[in-house]
Symmetry: C2
Subunit: 192 residues, 2 copies
DNA sequence: ACCATAGTATACAGACTAGTATACTATGAA
DNA sequence: TTCATAGTATACTAGTCTGTATACTATGGT
């Protein structure tokens, strides 16, 4: 059986290269070379480049959401604060060195067809992010957690695009100010 | 001198193919073939594929903003209504047959480097869109047109991403409801 | 009528693409 | 010790990529 550690090694390197260089523009030769592995080994773990891309997207989803949730919990002490901390977390991400936009938005751009397996993984990632927002909204006592989480999702996506396309480093804080309006009204309404 | 009509022909076809298939994944052979033109003619008009991509993005900006503004004016009778009509216009776009997301977000995904000429054209397009929003906001009597246009931009981007990645066909109307909050408060405040 | 030129058709160069084949090595378990 | 296997190294196939070269044709201005 091919070793799981080699597999992880390949996925990790592929993740970086795909994120920075794009999916179609990054070749498997380069991935194998940078991962310190031969192409034969790569193809022993993944039967095609498409499968590797899928594995990369699934891993990115796992890593990204874990780190996102950890940072939200670090930056917000209670559920109410954590709803705002979503945007402080985004802010840190946007201002990090290796920010190249959202990998799932980028992948959806290259695999535009809605039925493409890669596109489906992207949609699923967004669904899971929104589900997390919904949990926070519910715990914070929002009147309509579904609506609030959807609203915060729109703002998060908008901020991410502005940060990447226009290089707006303050997009996170701008979205936070907008988000407060929705958070306050959703929670004050519930308390009344 | 190479004929302008042939040039337009090539750009038009390239625009469709790049939009639906992506930039790196679409070859110049296919573009030349579909445009009913030989590669030699294509390279008489554009000295490289990169230049063709730039020409396509500039043309897309021109066409998109013209059509966008026409539709906003059709769907809103006065500046105040037109601010909301931004999102009805998006709604129509999202529900059109050939919707594949925002071409400039897609291009920024493939040409991630902020210094890339293509990326710069994308940023410029976003700036011009926001400028248009600002004009509407000012004419509608908004207290702070800069802030309002920025807020509407975030919502428009968020809606576009949700519509493309998640296939949410109602993203336009959802963003419209959110936008009303900002529009109302910006204009009522000004009237007070 | 002449001639530059904008085009066609086709072939080519050279590099890169995904993916496979062959031969060898090192390692760990029975 | 033996033997399967996970790996390396390297070469290859067959196709596609951008971009160029050669030869021919049609057209419009002088």
């Amino acid at each position: 059986m091919p070793s799981p550690s080699k597999r992880d090694q390949i996925v990790d390197v592929a993740l970086d290269l795909f994120y920075q260089g794009g999916f179609n523009a990054t070749g498997v030769d380069k991935i194998a070379l940078e991962a310190g592995v031969t192409k034969k080994t790569l193809y022993a773990h993944f039967k095609s480049k498409d499968e590797l891309i899928l594995a990369v997207l699934r891993r990115r989803d796992e890593i990204f959401r874990n780190q996102f949730m950890r940072n939200v919990e670090r930056l917000g002490k209670n559920p109410r604060q954590r709803l705002e901390a979503i945007f402080d977390t985004l802010d840190e991400w946007f201002n990090g060195k290796k920010f190249c936009g959202c990998m799932f938005i980028n992948a959806s751009a290259e695999f535009s067809d809605q039925g493409n397996p890669c596109h489906l993984v992207c949609a699923e990632h967004k669904r899971l992010m929104q589900e997390y927002f919904r949990d926070l909204a519910e715990k914070a006592g929002a009147q309509d957690p579904d609506s609030l989480s959807e609203e915060l999702m729109f703002l998060a996506e908008g901020a991410t695009v502005q940060a990447h396309v226009c290089g707006d480093k303050r997009a996170g804080q701008k979205a936070k100010r907008m988000a407060r309006l929705f958070i306050d009204s959703a929670i004050n309404l519930a308390g009344a």
